[in-house]
Amino acid sequence: MISPRSSDVPALSCRNIAKTYESNHVTACRDISIDLHAGEIHCILGENGAGKSTLMRILTGDQRPDRGSVIIQGETASLSSPHDALKRGIGMIHQQSNCIAELTVWENIILGAEELPLVLPVTAQGRTRKAVDRICSTYGLSLPYRKIASKLDSSGIQTAALVSLLLRNVQVLIFDEPHTLFSGTPPPLFTDLAGTFAREGKAVAVVTHNLETAFSIASRITVLRRGASMGTFLPQEIDIKGASRLMMGLPPQFEAAPETRPHRRAPSRQSPVMTLDQVTTEGDPDNPSVLKDVSFSVHPGEILACVGIKEHGLTTLEGLITSFASGRGDPPRLAGGTVQFDGLSCGYPADLEDFRKAGGAYVPSDRLVTGTAVRCSVTDNAMLHVHKNLTGSIPGIIARDKALSYARKLIKDVSIHARPEDVMLSLSGGNIQKLIAARELALNPKLLIACEITWGLDIMTQEFLFSRIEELRSSGTAVLLITSETDIALAHSTRTAMFYRGRLSCIADTSKVTADQIGDVILGGASI
């Protein structure tokens, strides 16, 4: 870790930023400090959910931090909006379109600044147009001014956003997942543009999870993980592998194999509960999230952990096995191979109900939208799977006392402080997850699919959840743990299945692998 390159005042910096979203209790930033100096290209790396976007929103006035301060040119600032940040010379080029789809490119460029009113006198428009043309020729950019913004491709959108920031003479440029090429003839490379801006003395921040891009241009690199900074480095102090290890929460250097882990029983010889045979899902095979030729079985009494980067097939696997997509889209479809669960052929278009009837239980990775109805009571959430069995003497009418006592039972199962009538949202994130787990475990499943079950939870809660899962396992349940957290797999699973770019690279007894070996497989496709 280093101190800033020069002693001069950073163009933009922040100190001890913390932010928790009230709506879902997610802590996006815990304690982040970062400096952006004039003339540097500062790459900010992190996985999805590491807190990159929230941090950038705070730096550009789109969000307010719970704690910590934003400092512009050495002065503490309180940014009220992106517009406010823009007036102080800070601008951001967003990953997605930030422009008004119905307006033309030209209207989008001149929109939103008082000094450039939309209804300009012809002469002023001409002057602005000249300034824009000058900017475009300086950097080799070009834009179809009369085109409607919604017709632009993503590189055109980012180019338009860039031009409009340059027109406002922005001195701190923040790029969120920049496009490789910008619009122009020939199209300028992002890496070249970033270098030019830095030489001109602008501070350039690049938020990305593309390590190659980052390492090819960065003057400094900051790695974020779970809302905290893992350190700021000069490019020569760290390599791609080290950075990716930090992003995944692994130690940057090689470590001795920890031998303190309890030895777990090898998988039982009983016939498997679930078997995937040469499973391939629909989609472009080059897409890392598409599963390719994946085969494995889950046996009674074992915890099989599937580890890897979420986008390298874990999310697809979750959707495929449960036949459930949390968003608007359909769950992934099988293109080849079979998924067998207790005689049931899983996979779209079979449905989650069949899966449950066959003895499956499922803790979804998306706990706030899929796993709970956050504005409903604990009772309403608790009885989702069993409400039809809680009727009293009148058919179709749920007996209130039965519903309440069922909710109380789940609350007691995971010993949390809550009353059946409490609104789910009033519970902490950990308690919400405990209650979801309690609801699914109470089904006494043959197969439990637990996805990202520990995400965002403290150690105590993690241990608690696994003690319950362990009880279930020892009574013969097969557990499929899908997690992007390697340490969780190491600490709790019987076997570990490692995914890389949608392929199952290898399966090993967890007691025989180290964090390092897993890291090599899931980050680089090495084999053990």
Partner: protein
């Protein structure tokens, strides 16, 4: 509860303000407005009979809201329900009242249900928002019902654009003559009680609430999206149809062009004021009915035009939707 009181006061003061500004004799008008429903037995009975229709219509919309749907087709659904009932009453052979009444009511409810359920199905099948489709179908149906009453069913002898009276045996019993209060009040009470039990105690009510609150969570629990895209709006359509039938059998006894107009929008106003509780639906229905009767009393006595009633109705809708919009905005932020 406090919020409801604020909204009620806001509505009442806005109405007062409008009357004061628009009436040539403000004092007289305002006194007539506030004392309207209590001036005599007739006014009081009108007040209750108008409130009971609003309870029926508003309850349906409340259920629809809880299911996460919006039904803007109330005007057409009430009118069509009433028209279905009317057509059956006039064209079917004469029956004893105890058979005819349930039959006519069922005809209205089924008609309302089918019209509204169509919008729910369109939403499920083609992702056409039920807000748009229900509003548009309603618009067309209003003209169709107008045509029925002014064309095939019209009573040529009458000076009004109206049909013949339905047979006397089919009408709901008068409770407070000479006022229009009728035994439909028991239907309204039954609807309010049944909807409460349905929503908060039944298996289907639970699923409907979960689907309305968070559809992904409901799907995760195996609750059928098709059923619960059709059921909430379908129920509101059925209850709108019922309100239409009750208006016909209890108050008007014949079809008059536009005779249920306003009930659809006022049902939405009631549901928006009431929020989620059925008890509040009773309260909101009384409030809206009070204003309606107050306005007509002010119109009858003072030199206030009919348009003022429309202006006040519009103002009420604005106030109550403001509340909802604010909540929506908070959700979005």
């Amino acid at each position: 509860m406090k919020g409801k009181l604020v909204v009620s006061l806001l509505i009442l003061s806005l109405t007062t303000l409008l009357l004061a500004l628009l009436s040539p004799e403000p004092a007289e008008t305002i006194v007539r407005f506030f004392t309207g429903p209590f001036r005599n037995i007739y006014a009081f009975g009108s007040f209750l009979s108008s409130a009971l229709l609003l309870v029926i219509a508003g309850t349906g919309i409340s259920i629809c809201f809880r299911g996460g749907q919006f039904n803007l087709g109330g005007e057409g659904q009430v009118y069509s329900g009433a028209a279905a009932s009317l057509t059956a009453a006039l064209l079917l052979p004469l029956m004893p009242g105890f058979i005819a009444k349930p039959l006519l009511i069922a005809a209205a409810m089924i008609t309302g249900f089918l019209i509204a359920a169509l919008s729910g199905w369109l939403r499920h099948r083609f992702s056409i928002h039920e807000l748009i489709s229900s509003y548009l179908t309603s618009g067309a149906l209003v003209f169709f019902c107008d045509f029925l009453i002014s064309g095939p069913l019209r009573d040529e002898e009458s000076f009004l654009i109206a049909t013949q009276r339905i047979p006397g045996a089919y009408t709901l019993a008068q409770l407070l003559p000479p006022s229009p209060l009728h035994s439909g009040i028991f239907i309204a009470a039954a609807v309010a009680a049944a909807s409460h039990i349905f929503l908060h105690r039944s298996v289907w009510g639970y699923r409907l609430r979960m689907f309305g609150e968070q559809s992904t969570f409901a799907r995760f629990g195996g609750i059928s999206p098709r059923t619960y895209r059709i059921m909430p709006i379908g129920i509101s359509g059925a209850l709108y149809g019922l309100a239409g039938a009750v208006a016909l059998l209890g108050i008007h006894y014949r079809g008059i062009q536009g005779f249920t107009a306003g009930l659809g929008w006022n049902g939405i106003a009631v549901a928006l004021i009431a929020g989620t509780s059925p008890v509040m639906t009773l309260y909101a229905a009384l409030l809206v009915a009070y204003i309606e009767i107050g306005i007509s009393s002010a119109m009858a006595g003072a030199a206030v035009t009919y348009d003022l009633g429309l202006i006040v109705r519009g103002a009420i809708l604005i106030v109550v939707t403001l509340k909802v919009l604010k909540r929506k905005q908070e959700e979005l932020l």
